[in-house]
Symmetry: none
Subunit: 232 residues, 2 copies
DNA sequence: GCGGCTCTTCATCAATTCTTAATAAATATC
DNA sequence: GATATTTATTAAGAATTGATGAAGAGCCGC
């Protein structure tokens, strides 16, 4: 049951789109400004966004840029016929497709379906996998459980999210800012060794010697990573 | 072992797809017209169809419409790059995905696998279970009754739905938002400790000591779950 | 309209978790 | 080697989250 966010400052357009997308499987959210859209993306687990480019307060492209900092959810831009430039710009910034006004109902639903399928099935960045293994670590996203050498380890939500990010992207290095953006769904702000503190807590739980970590390695000046094909 | 039907009027394309999908687990069928495809679907237990849109005798879209009358087997349409209109039309008529020519072998197999997974897991094969057991709990979805150690327990509708969600997905952790979305079929907006209250009511009915629940466990910060393979 | 039942909301409490800030250690640069 | 930047460590206050009790709203059959 995909969650779809519709964002346009004109209520009529939002309502029209809601009708085009009236499908019992969809949960539709609506926003009337980029700022509102951003808020909903942070709070809800949105699977697809339809967003107008031209909006007061925060225009579509700015909002998209902000959303892209924290999510790779598919974004379909809504544009007027003539705004060719925006189209192109939008796609380069990070939109996945665009739809031109006036909308063709069939086209809207087709493109939405197509993007949803791509995102939910073939999973753009975050695959649908729900079990990750690395050495003696086993993380099951269904049960939110972590096993270390077969024994259950209790993680707090933030710890869990951070570990999931690392274990699901073996070898990839994430800077503390990356981690903050991905886990908190916010821009890293001010004095932030918050991530380091959490990393430490995780290490205390999964490492024999937190000062000589086997799992969460640090790449100085770059960030943290978890090596793939881990040997014991 | 899934049965896959490839349908295209060009033999070369059929052969190419057969190579891309050469997997000992697959049984491949071929058809060179929509009519032929329809015949095979009727005769065999096909689990996925790859079909060209442009074909003589009976084109892909017509064939798909006919097939959809008798089956909801996944259909991947094969289209040429330019046939944007067909893409859209196809998706609305009932295709599950499309692949554009020229084919990328990896893409073909990825999309095929993805659709097969979806279909074989969630699809026709999985019958609606109507009786769930966990420890001393027995929930019968036919009679909407819950037995605790053989004795009937009366649940309100919401309580029933929540318990059913949990008992039918053992070990899976549902956040309060997940539960709200699944049970209320509405967006989990606004004040949300409604779910917690219902959980409490359920616990009062099925737990000996609601403060130390045996059945509905909480994973702090993540949500609620019911452990499978429950011991008494 | 009147009870009975269910659902929702609100306020409060307790427990856990998160963040901050201060300080120490490690690493890289010059 | 000195310095600046990055990471590690610790502990305490702040913020969330879930539990709980109770009151009010809505609905239904009578």
């Amino acid at each position: 049951m995909p969650n779809i966010l519709i964002c346009d400052d004109e209520k009529d357009i939002v309502n029209a789109l809601k009708i085009y997308l009236s499908n019992p499987d969809y949960t539709l959210y609506e926003a009337f400004s980029g700022a509102e859209a951003l808020k909903i993306v942070k709070e809800q687990d949105i699977h697809l966004i339809l967003m107008d480019i031209m909006m007061p307060v925060m225009d579509g492209l700015s909002a998209m840029a902000k959303i892209r900092e924290i999510s790779n959810v598919p974004i379909l831009l809504l544009t007027a016929k003539s705004e060719e430039t925006d189209k192109i710009l939008g796609l380069n910034i990070g939109a996945d497709d665009y739809i031109t006004k006036p909308f063709n109902p069939l086209e809207v639903s087709a493109r939405v379906n197509s993007q949803l399928r791509r995102y939910l099935n073939l999973g753009a960045g975050a695959p649908q996998q729900e079990c990750f293994v690395n050495g003696g670590l086993e993380l099951n996203d269904r049960t939110k459980e972590l096993l270390l050498d077969g024994e259950k380890v209790c993680l707090t939500p933030k710890e869990y999210d951070i570990l999931k990010l690392l274990i699901s992207n073996p070898d990839k290095v994430f800077s503390p800012k990356d981690i903050y953006g991905a886990v908190w769904k916010e821009k890293p702000f001010g004095s932030d060794n918050t991530v380091a503190v959490h990393i430490r807590h995780i290490r205390e739980k999964i490492e024999i010697d937190p000062a000589e970590p086997r799992y969460i390695k640090v790449v100085f000046g770059q960030g943290y990573k978890m090596e793939g094909a881990h040997k014991r």
